[in-house]
């Protein structure tokens, strides 16, 4: 019994406790005592949802033994495409159909980007790191170009409200949480279930653990990989939708460096860059740990460099703990 408790603590439960501990720490330190309030926590959840959603896709990629550096660029591409379609409405509020069209266009582009990553990696047999390093720049360039290197200012629409806080807001409180967080939760549950119950999910993990063995067992390795990068593109795009809702404009420079935060979330969540290990729940907790840390530093009035430094330190600690865990496992 003692053994099982310990194994639990070494896994996602332990990460959750670390998250709680960091929240409590800031709750005790931040002056005014507002850190632990629901409206503040809701805000942190909202701000973390962009990274969380992209981290679901990145978890799949890392589970399959790959990596996706283009997530930030795909996110920006989606933001700009949505804004560009929305701006067609001129000064009028965009019609519901137009906003749906904008969503479809944005997500279509993100899926296309992911598919291109997958096809380049599988058909040319290139290393994922190199391919996505290249497409990161290319997608960012295309984003910039399609926005004519300036911000696009579309009119407001219902899309802009999906990131708004709902607690205490008249007529919206029944939602409990903003649509953005529901979207993240539902995505996480579905992908989590796919990984656990579907053949596709088990094959993703098998490819990441030992690609040769998977091929030998009749797993369609190339197809699995393409599907994984396609989904990573889709989730980067969904994160882009949230980002659009949050900033409200088509800013081609948005989301720079997000790919590293997303990877950091997966690694803090127990994902192994050599593949086969990681969990959706863990990655979400990882994204939240980063989010809480950022919010905490801001509310303490600490300088930005401290946030950056702490994020790095957390990655390092997570990697060290992971190493210790594996050494114990093999002994």
């Amino acid at each position: 019994m003692k053994d099982t408790l310990w194994t639990l603590l070494k896994g996602d439960a332990g990460r959750f406790l670390v998250l709680i501990a960091i929240v409590l720490l800031f709750a005790a330190m931040v002056p005014g005592g507002n850190f632990g309030s629901w409206s503040n926590l809701e805000n942190i959840l909202i701000q973390s949802s962009v990274v969380s959603l992209a981290a679901i896709g990145a978890t799949l990629v890392i589970l399959s033994g790959g990596i996706d550096l283009s997530a930030g660029s795909v996110l920006a591409f989606t933001v700009v495409v949505i804004a560009w379609v929305m701006a067609k409405a001129g000064d009028q509020p965009p019609s519901f159909m137009l906003s749906l069209l904008a969503l479809a266009a944005g997500l279509g582009i993100s899926c296309l980007c992911g598919w291109i990553n997958g096809m380049l990696i599988t058909s040319l047999r290139l290393i994922p790191f190199i391919v996505t390093l290249a497409t990161m720049q290319m997608f960012r360039g295309l984003t910039s170009g399609s926005a004519r290197q300036t911000n696009i200012y579309p009119p407001d629409s219902w899309l802009n409200s999906i990131m708004d806080s709902v607690s205490g807001v008249q007529g919206k409180a029944w939602m409990l949480m903003p649509p953005a967080i529901w979207l993240t939760l539902i995505s996480a549950l579905s992908i989590g279930a796919l990984l656990r119950y579907s053949r596709w999910g088990r094959h993703v993990i098998a490819v990441g653990s030992n690609e040769d063995c998977a091929r030998l067992c009749g797993v369609r390795v190339l197809r699995i990989k393409v599907s994984v990068y396609l989904l990573a593109g889709l989730f980067a795009g969904l994160a882009g939708v949230l980002q659009y809702a949050y900033i409200g404009i088509g800013q081609p420079t948005t989301g720079q460096g997000y790919e590293l935060m997303v990877i950091a979330a997966v690694v803090i969540g127990g994902g192994s860059l050599s593949g086969g290990e990681g969990s959706i729940l863990g990655s979400l907790i990882g994204a939240l740990i980063i989010g809480v840390l950022f919010a905490g530093c801001v509310q303490m009035g600490w300088a930005k460099w401290l946030q950056t430094f702490f994020t790095g330190a957390i990655i390092l600690v997570a990697a060290i703990l992971d190493r210790l865990r594996q050494q114990q496992g093999s002994a």
Partner: protein, 485 residues
């Protein structure tokens, strides 16, 4: 002549396997000493002990009368022992000269002494008959034969007095072999001692002064070449009793599961039959199985598997009811970081399944195969070699195959696990537990296993598959002879 190397009572264990039981070897100055033995007799381990890669558990080594205890391959090289490995060990991004001096650079105050090294590398290249090469050229540009000679030149740079050659001719053309042999003879003249390992008895007959036979980790006998006959050598190499490890076989049925033919060669496998393929490592046995399974393009061949003809991918092969067990358990056979259950299910997952169902069915296989583990959720990396191999075999059982291609299914596992696997294979062939009988194609380097377990055995030699004969018509002796001659 004086004794250059004396090894006595050398023993080495790896976990439960005893790689070297008791080896005694004496090599004189200016002598080519041939070392022969079956695959797995301990030749490679012995040479790794000599070259400092492994430390012996027991025994004593003396080099020119001095106690010799190398702590590392570098120490062995400094003592004057150089080894040429089967696989090349040149670094393609460095020049010849940098390769020659790697790890033993001539330096003063941390700076390379260019002139001295240039002179010595030219000298070493000349001694291996490569004086036309520029020491500055990139090692990537060498032909395989040249690369091997450059590796030999490395031995001369380090002032080697005892050279170990492990199957040096396996990647050489006939002409390059002649060249190598004349070099070896000239070095012997200069007083160099050479340990020569080869499967090819004719090479040994044309080169060696002394021949030592290894069998099951023991040095059986050492005699001057003139006192050996080929028959003696083979008998010495085999020399062990066939134990009662092997279950009785049921006769095979009539219907054909596999039909294969390519030119003169052909193979037919009936339901319930176990067919063994013997041959040396590198004779093309594994490649044959992989081509059957669609993992590589084989030579033009007619292939029929239960009505399915022609080339297919591994995925289609599984659907045809063919299962494959790789000889490389760790790299290709298993996903070591995944659980037993995940590994068992890998080829046969239904579209949707709950972890609970996967686990409970995996537990059934675990019991059937007698895999010793607390739970089917355990990572495969935590199991012993024998239990890992049972998991790999269990995948074929879980899938329910009609035709099993098994490449070295008992390599490196203990006798208990071997016996479990033999009985499992017999049951599969006989069709126990309501399953239809399977056909099994078994590649093995372990001759008693082939003779004990197979209905028929065919020998593969240099990529050519010989006629399959009933096992009663083979002996270890004749199998070895067929794969050597």
């Amino acid at each position: 002549m004086s004794v250059r190397l004396q090894m006595s009572g050398i023993q080495k264990r790896f976990g439960a396997t005893r790689a070297l039981a008791d080896v005694t070897l004496q090599v004189q100055e200016g002598e080519v000493h041939a070392l022969v033995g079956e695959n797995g007799a301990g030749k490679s381990t012995l040479m790794k002990v000599l070259s400092g890669a492994h430390r012996p558990d027991e025994g004593r080594m003396e080099l020119e009368g001095q106690l010799y205890q190398p702590a590392s391959p570098l120490a062995a090289r400094q003592a004057g022992i150089a080894m040429l490995y089967q696989e090349g060990s040149l670094l393609p991004h460095l020049s010849l000269e940098e390769n020659l001096f790697l790890g033993q650079e001539e330096c003063r105050y941390g700076f390379r002494r260019q002139q001295i090294m240039r002179r010595r590398s030219l000298d070493a290249l000349e001694r291996v008959g490569l004086s036309e090469l520029d020491p500055n050229m990139s090692a990537a540009k060498l032909s395989p034969a040249q690369a091997q000679l450059v590796e030999l030149a490395r031995a001369f740079v380090s002032g080697c007095r005892l050279l170990v050659l492990d199957e040096p001719t396996s990647s050489l053309s006939r002409r390059d072999v002649e060249k190598l042999f004349s070099l070896i003879r000239s070095w012997r003249q200069e007083g160099m001692s050479i340990i020569y390992i080869s499967h090819f008895l004719e090479e040994i007959e044309s080169l060696a002064d002394q021949v030592t036979v290894l069998c099951d980790g023991r040095s059986v006998e050492t005699r001057p070449l003139a006192e050996w006959t080929r028959q003696d050598i083979i008998r010495c190499m085999v020399g062990r009793d066939v134990s009662q490890l092997y279950p009785d076989l049921a006769p095979p049925q009539e219907d054909c599961v596999l039909e294969w033919s390519s030119g003169e060669e052909h193979l037919q496998l009936r339901r319930g039959e176990i067919l063994g393929i013997s041959g040396l490592i590198g004779s093309g046995r594994s490649e044959f199985l992989e081509a059957l399974f669609g993992l590589r393009q084989g030579p033009e061949a007619e292939l029929g598997i239960q009505g399915h003809a022609g080339y297919a991918s591994p995925r289609q092969r599984w659907q045809n009811g063919m299962g494959f067990l790789s000889e490389d358990r760790k790299e290709r056979g298993l996903a070591l970081q995944l659980s037993i259950s995940d590994n068992l299910w890998l080829s046969s997952l239904p579209r949707w399944s709950s972890p609970k169902r996967r686990r409970s069915e995996a537990e059934i296989q675990v019991q059937r195969l007698k895999i010793r583990c607390p739970s089917a959720e355990l990572k495969v990396s935590g199991l012993s070699g024998g239990n890992q191999q049972k998991v790999a075999l269990g995948r074929l059982l879980q899938h329910g195959c009609d035709l099993l291609l098994l490449d070295e299914p008992t390599r490196g596992i203990d006798v208990g696990a071997k016996s479990d696997i033999y009985h499992q294979l017999r049951d599969l062939a006989a069709g126990a537990g309501g399953q239809p009988p399977c056909a099994i194609l078994l590649v093995s380097s372990y001759l008693p296993e082939l003779l004990g377990l197979c209905h028929r055995i065919a020998v593969m030699r240099e990529g050519q598959l010989g006629e399959a004969q009933p096992r009663e018509q083979w002996s270890e002796h004749s199998l070895l002879e067929a794969s050597l001659s």
